[in-house]
Every structure is written in C-alpha cells, then in structure tokens.
Subunit: 139 residues, 4 copies
Amino acid sequence: MKPLSRKETQAFVPRMPFNQHLGIRVTRVHQDGITIECPLRPELMNGAGVLHGGVTATMADVAVGLALQRHFGRMTPITTVELKVNFFRPVPDGKIVARSHLLRVGSRVMAGRVDLFDAHKRLVGAALVTYILVGRSNP
Amino acid sequence: MKPLSRKETQAFVPRMPFNQHLGIRVTRVHQDGITIECPLRPELMNGAGVLHGGVTATMADVAVGLALQRHFGRMTPITTVELKVNFFRPVPDGKIVARSHLLRVGSRVMAGRVDLFDAHKRLVGAALVTYILVGRSNP
Amino acid sequence: MKPLSRKETQAFVPRMPFNQHLGIRVTRVHQDGITIECPLRPELMNGAGVLHGGVTATMADVAVGLALQRHFGRMTPITTVELKVNFFRPVPDGKIVARSHLLRVGSRVMAGRVDLFDAHKRLVGAALVTYILVGRSNP
Amino acid sequence: MKPLSRKETQAFVPRMPFNQHLGIRVTRVHQDGITIECPLRPELMNGAGVLHGGVTATMADVAVGLALQRHFGRMTPITTVELKVNFFRPVPDGKIVARSHLLRVGSRVMAGRVDLFDAHKRLVGAALVTYILVGRSNP
C-alpha cells in the first residue's frame, strides 16, 4: 500500500480537535515519517514567555501518531502508550517543528523518535513515543 | 520558609498563558506536592473523542513545575529538562487530575513524579518530570 | 488466583542468568509489587567509584518484571517495551533496593513504577517500566 | 580541542569496572558520538534466553557517557540524570551495538540519543540519555 501524500495526511488534522485548536499543520512527508509545525502564539507560552513544554510534548506525540496513520493509510485505532521528551532550548517565537521517524511498526507495538526544531532549524528537543494498536479487547 | 498556600500557588497560573488557556486550576496542596485539575472540553480531545495525550503530558509538566514554584515560595527561574509519561486509560469526559510528588530538590536538578486520574479517581497515567534551575549561564 | 509468596517469586531468579549473576534477591512481596535488592560489589561500580547506572536501570526493569511474573503466578512470556529511570543520588556502598508498584495490568500492556533506595533507605532513583504480553505473533 | 581517538576513548573503559566486567569495547568514533559493542554471553541473558534489557539500558547509558568523556577530552565528573530506552526486538546471540549521537552539550546539562543494533545491524532499540556536569556543589 502506498503511504498517503502530505495533503491526505493533513486531512486527518481537522478530525483531531486539540491538534486543530493548536494550529498543527503537516508540512512534509518522508519515507520514514512526517514533518509537522505549529506557529507560536501568545496563549501557547509559559510563565517565562517561551513556548510551553506541554505544546512541545504534544508535537512529539502528534508527529508519531500522524506518521502511523499515514503509514496505515487510514484512520486506524491506535493510542499512545507512553512518551518521553527532552527539552534542549527555549523557543521564544516563530514556530515549533517536529520531524518524526518511525523506528518500529510491529503488529501491536509501534514506536518513533522525533526531532524538534525552532524556526531557525536549531534542535530544541528530542522524543521517543510508543503507540499500540487498539483492538476489540482493552490494551 | 513556609510553602505557599493553595491560593498563593493558584496565583501563579494567570501568569502562565498556556496553563490559563487550558483552564488548569490548583485544587490542593500537600506536604510533598500539589493537585491540579483541568475540565475537559471539546477542543482538548483527540480524533478518538477522548482527551489528547498532549494535555495529559502538559498536566504532568505543570503539576511538578507549580509544586516547585510553591516549594521555592516565589516565581523561580526553572525549566523542564525532560518529561516521561505513561497513559493507562482513555479519559472521555469530566476532568483530568494530576497529583505531583517532589522526589528530589537538589541545588540544580529537581524531579517529581505525578499520578494522573480521571473524574472517577481512576489512575489514567503516571509521569516522571525533571527540572533544572536556570542560572545566569545557559543550562 | 493467589499471588505467589516471596519464596515462590524468588524461585524465578535462578532461571534468569543476568539477575542471578548480579546477585538480585527478592526480599519482600507486597499487595501491589515486590522488593528486590542487590549487594554492591567492585565489578558493579562505574568510573566514579559508585554504583553504575546500568545496574540501577536493571533493578527497575527486574522489579516490575518479577512483580508481573508473581502476579500471573507462573513464568509468563512478557517482555519490556521500554523503561525510564531517574537517578537522584550516587550509591557508593551497601546495596541497592528496588520496590515496584504495578500501576496497570491490562490484557496486553502492563506498567509499573519503581522507587529505588540505598542501604540507608534514602531514595536514590525512580522509574517507570512498560511490559507487553508476548503472544504467538511478534509484538 | 581535538576529540579523542578511538584508542584514547577505549582507554577510559578499564577504569569503569562494570563496563569492563560486561566486556564493552569502543569500536568507532564519529563526529557526533561513538559506537560501542558488547559480545553476548550466557550470564547476560534473561529468563527467555535473550539479552537482558538491563544490559541494553547499560549500553545506552555508556554510549552517551563515553561520548561525553571523549568530547571533553579527559575523565570529566559527569553523572547520568536519567535514561529512557525502548526495546524493539529480542537479541538472542552475537552482540549488542550502541551508536550514540550527542544532541546537546550545554554548560551543565548534556543529552544524547542512542540507536541500538544486533549483530545483523537490525535496530533493536533506541534511547535518550541526560547527563549533568557534577560540580563542587551537589546536583
């Protein structure tokens, strides 16, 4: 099966209210993942005037989740088992960019890593995210 | 120094735009941490109609960060080094509650663990979050 | 089914070569997990003369894995999906103790948290560990 | 300052008892990290007859730690703050290989990611590891 195009992958976003609310957009698709970005705006900031780490964590989660949806070629019932993210630099303005690489797509467990960048292409964080296929029985 | 009261800790939130935007509130303070909650609303959900994992990760980050601010007794320049969160159950409605326990408050590195609950007091996730004190030099 | 006793849980260890090699022993069983310990010896140390973090990470993995074996009441085919561990203090001598709490035992995914202590009962680390049941198909 | 050669980096290992005990060797140095490997032997296995996850976690920790020592050009007082590792496939024989990439070397906090391979160059795991410089004051 051919992986979805950028447009087809982007088409998932309006069905994901929090992603839509944050303003996340799919900007590129790659052989092993996708790139998404989110423009900064005042209500996404923390008390220090830089992007809130919760938004960065969300970007990591979404970059792997959407790459998996794209890989499966349709809205597939997956759920995040766990995520881990390191923050290297504050992001004061512009946008946050997340590039995911799927590392493992098993029959039940899937995992990807994510590089996070600011508008100047500086690495601002890195993440590992684990998903599971949700079957009829509860995971 | 006496740790801050619930009201004094809550007073930090309006200075933190994303926390304020999500609707996070400090509901209790404890000897070793705090409890915060966030009511669910449509724009915080994911494509499966349950709370987005990014909001859950944000709650973990904030529960430790605010517990540290409370511990220091004033708005202190700290930043999240990394966070890790496990998701055990979907949260379809009501609210998400995060109870932090500070595990280590060193002179530079601080860490806490967080239990995450739904409105029915079921454990829906768990997290470990690491902070660092931001000095004059860059961390 | 009644969870296994300390002796019955300890009986798994000789079948696990690395655990046996490190000298890990089950010292207590609890309603929600187990306590294991490992005496320090010269070859478990790092270049700074304190316990190597790899041993601490191993203790976290084992404390959850053995608690799950105990929970299932027999040697069950489970495997670690991922582990995350924070290190709070060096452990220069005595022993390392790991107390696991099972947080989630689903039909496929299982997770526990671990508190790590030194011989003086000081908290030296904390961990979250995720396991999966290994079925006929590959995870 | 010129980063150390493979031989100079390897020279740290005999001063690190647990690494020496496991049989870890530095096999390559790269612009942004190092490659280490450890031959499998019976006492490193778990109850399922494959490499124990604790050894894999140790490899991740060491691959970043030694890359940092190499970067600093001398035995520098650093300590692991936390590590997180995903396991994708069992490693039944041969060796385990860890390739680290330093992602952030700040004045206090340092982080790297690690790809873990088996003898057939299959990706068997991935990790993120955070270190801190240990100064005169306690971290």
